[in-house]
Symmetry: C2
DNA sequence: GTCAATGCAAACATTTTGCAACTCT
DNA sequence: AGAGTTGCAAAATGTTTGCATTGAC
């Protein structure tokens, strides 16, 4: 996610979402509106759980199930996109009004670098045509080491693997 | 996964795995050997659970935990690769001795088409250099519709989303 | 008023962990 | 012998579901 959306952008997204819902007989509830706004206002990649927490910390009363039920709607109508950095976590980012981009993920520090997806999209078209495939979208991600990490430790040929970190509890 | 490995290939992979383990003071147990062989002999993408089941059906006594603990080792030493088709499932494939490839995934029927990754790797190098990033690998996947699916139903503009399928139980 | 959505808790699937017994080196 | 490994069952995670109540249109 590069930048938080402007108020106008959010308004437009709300319109899009609303249309999407109406078209299939679904309702534009206050919870869905609140989720959309929270997501559009953010400039970060996020997980479902995080989103839930941040909304509750903002004083909003919202259930976990609602978050899990709403995210797919936003993905389907194209406002939000799923991204997968490491395993063990599904991340989301809002893409509405953003330039298409993909990500480079640093294996050592986890830094995310976004880059323009135009070249990738172009290649995807060529490859799809070559296999008589009808491309609709792609997922692309470059894994490696960012410059600062290489500078900090140029000797470590083998990248450091993310240590298994559990969240709380256990002896 | 394009093809099952030949006996020689498996032997070589065993050697590689053994070295990898020895280098870090780990042991080449019969369970690890059995897992490696099963994986190398397969020509399919697979999930952890599937692997466990197929090994047990072959009469091998092996614990679930062992499978989950061994897969990361095989991934780290480069014999196995994780691939992620849809959400809700981590798939693996053995890549040792296989040509580098990426996947196209049909949204409607789930068919997987493999294609040579050379062009993608080339692009990845260019992109990485442009951002002073040190690329080590990539994940690429083209999502869309395969030819048969388009032929079967050319009218459906909106791709059919995988219906939420739970495995057994519930009301 | 009707039909869909919400929140909660319970159910689930998947993966991880502790631990005692066991095995590779 | 000793350090790492195994299997099992229990724990933990992340996500989904049933259901009664609430709310949007």
């Amino acid at each position: 996610m590069a930048k938080a959306a402007t108020a106008e952008m959010i308004a437009t997204a709300e319109h899009v979402f609303r249309e999407y819902l109406r078209d299939r007989g679904l309702k534009y509830t206050r919870e869905r509106q609140a989720l959309l706004r929270a997501i559009m206002s953010s400039d970060q990649h996020f997980e479902a759980e995080q989103l839930l927490l941040s909304m509750r910390q903002s004083g909003l009363r919202i259930g976990k199930a609602t978050v899990y039920r709403t995210l797919p709607l936003l993905v389907n109508c194209g406002i939000v996109k799923q991204v997968q950095f490491s395993n063990n976590a599904v991340h989301y980012e809002h893409t509405y009004g953003q330039d298409p981009h993909d990500h480079m993920v640093c294996r050592r520090c986890g830094r995310i670098i976004e880059f323009d997806a135009a070249d990738v999209a172009r290649l995807r078209t060529i490859l799809a045509a070559r296999h008589r495939f009808h491309a609709l979208s792609h997922r692309f991600q470059i894994v490696g080491l960012c410059e600062p990490c290489v500078q900090a430790c140029p000797v470590a040929t083998r990248p450091i693997l993310v240590p298994p970190v559990s969240k709380g509890r256990r002896k």
